[in-house]
Symmetry: C2
Subunit: 376 residues, 2 copies
């Protein structure tokens, strides 16, 4: 074959402008770099208590049917989710996790020149999608470790933002606003602004965190997932709830055969096992308490959490928290931390099993001592 010209057509200006950085490095990549497995995988807010045994059984029974595409309409799962929330199937869009759905939702509304309001230090994958479609992020700071609806609304108004992202409960701090606060945010939403309300961690939050579902509202999309409380992060199932014409718009752009057959079966079974969900939520609450008490025992604060993780306040700056985090990682405890100040005074610890948290309790004093001695 003759050598081809090395010319290549240009990628789009939006793609060319994108960095090659990624929102998160996986624990597996860290394990490969360390050449050693973590003993406590409590950094990605996964549900260590696992999926419902019924979901596991559903996956095992469906495995042999893996040669069939999943139903592109996700019909059975969609009907079950709609019934669960007392809405219509036409109010539900199912997709490849909240990450996948946020990508679709951003694509519906964002193009170069469009502004999007979010909290400074909020969910990086949402930002990744916004920038990925050429949007411009405009931010409001957290207030007292909470996403701040008033400040976000001010930014959205001032900047004519087309989308406002609000996670309740929040990641990475784990805090939440009550239903009245979120309702206030919705009521004051400008006409030019969509609200993307990320409720990935809702099942862990106290009753009264979520405002009632209003699927008539033309500017609110709510996002839920099977990755957290349902323990199915590795199966990729999330859903959006909203007004029917909004939901239908996903059909114009989504990967119609993107939902796996095994994944659909797993989610359907998980949704049906409320007892397991309640058990998990109880275990997570106990783990949160234990993490806070480990923090206290080490003279650290912790941020009250409505999620399956706790932000431990290391009490100094980001550089210090990074040292504590590195000390834990070196001691086989996988944790993560927020990316920007002032949130990055904290490290983020996911609800682990008692054995994971024993290891945390054992290793945190050493990691702290090392960080303090290095910092003087």
């Amino acid at each position: 074959m003759t050598r081809p010209s090395m010319q290549r057509p240009a990628m789009t200006p939006t793609v060319v402008a994108l960095p090659e950085t990624v929102p998160f490095v996986g624990p597996e990549a860290q394990e490969r770099a360390r050449d050693k497995a973590f003993r406590a995988r409590i950094g990605a807010n996964e549900n260590v208590f696992g999926p419902s045994p019924k979901a596991i059984e559903a996956m095992q029974l469906t495995a042999g049917d893996g040669w069939m595409y999943g139903d592109p309409e996700n019909h059975e799962l969609k009907v079950a989710i709609a019934r669960h929330h007392h809405v219509e199937p036409g109010n539900i869009a199912i997709g490849e996790g909240i990450d996948g759905l946020l990508g679709y939702a951003v694509r519906l509304f964002v193009e170069p020149g469009v502004k999007v309001a979010t909290s400074f230090g909020g969910y990086p994958t949402f930002n990744y999608h916004v920038v990925g479609f050429g949007g411009q992020l405009v931010t409001a700071p957290y207030r007292d470790d909470h996403e701040d609806p008033d400040a976000l609304l001010d930014v959205a108004r001032r900047e004519q933002a087309r989308v406002l992202f609000f996670a309740n409960p929040d990641n990475p701090m784990g805090t939440c606003s009550d239903a009245a606060t979120v309702t206030g945010l919705i009521e004051r939403l400008p006409e030019h602004t969509m609200l993307f309300l990320d409720e990935a961690y809702l099942e862990f939050a106290p009753p009264g965190t979520a405002p009632p579902l209003d699927v008539e509202h033309p500017r609110v999309l709510r996002f839920r997932t099977f990755s957290k409380a349902y323990g199915l992060a590795g199966l990729r199932v999330g859903y959006a709830i909203g007004e029917t014409s909004l939901i239908r718009a996903f059909d114009r752009i989504r990967n119609h055969f993107g939902m796996g057959r095994v994944a659909q079966a797993a989610a359907l079974a998980a949704l049906g096992d409320g007892a397991h969900l309640r058990e998990v939520v109880g275990k997570v609450a106990a783990a949160r308490d234990r993490i806070a008490s480990i923090a206290r025992a080490n003279g650290l604060g912790s941020v009250p959490s409505a999620t399956n993780f706790v932000a431990l306040d290391c009490g100094r700056d980001g550089a210090f928290a990074r040292k504590v985090l590195n000390g834990l990682v070196e001691r086989d405890v996988f944790v993560r931390m927020p990316g920007v100040a002032p949130l990055d005074r904290c490290i983020r610890v996911s609800a682990g099993t008692p054995a994971h948290l024993d290891l945390l309790a054992e290793m945190l004093p050493e990691a702290l001592a090392e960080a303090r001695s290095a910092s003087g």
Copy 2:
């Protein structure tokens, strides 16, 4: 809550212009409409012979680990695929099936105003992505039921197309070009044009169908899948092979945690079971012969196939073929047909089990007689 304004911010002009139609209706939707299951699911080119028992076992063993996100780098699977093809892991991008990867690849290069060359009647999901990102399709007709490299190159040159899509073997006709023909296409590719070479059905094709992999070529992306010969359509795993800087570009836009953990495990195990693959390919070849012989017995032609399906030539126009198809569907045989003339003189039958094809042999004469009598 006060009633909100019914105003909604505009979606992007590209999205607003999109139809609500979808590339394919799933067999499940048809079954719901019929209120009756199909007895032969041989319309979606799925692999009825199923995945490797090792893949099934891998899924069953991994199900309990479904609470963990899949490795976002797909490291183990990527290394295994690279080794399988004697290329580097940096030449492989893994994604949510070829459909997902085609979406990403289109997004890299296509924006409003960009032209994309493909065959008139070629793979609808590719077209869906092109239009979805605002691109404009320019087409060349099939020639003798084959995608036509010369005509596609002419169109690409004339229209300054940024991407040329070529499926080898082809869907929906099942024909293929030999390696020399594809090499000729690659050698004559204009400098302003990327080739997206969809090889989803390659494992079913005769030796000598695929040109050697040249991962230095800056303008060729090749697409493979675990959905067809490997029997894992319901798990959503495909990959692209290409030059490293092209492959890295996927990292700028892909859903990094989009690959399921169970899916990765299934694909890895499937890739390792070459014996099963060979067995499936043999069964598919036998099924193709049987389908062609059923066609002959009914006085119909069939298009020689290098895939796991056969286009049965019903010998008249699209309206007639549609009647034959409907007659089969009414008799519990799920098949599909090409969307445009002259391809739509055919119905497309996937390689079925002997029992499926017994049903086809039983029902085709009735469906044909009915269609003929209705058409006069």
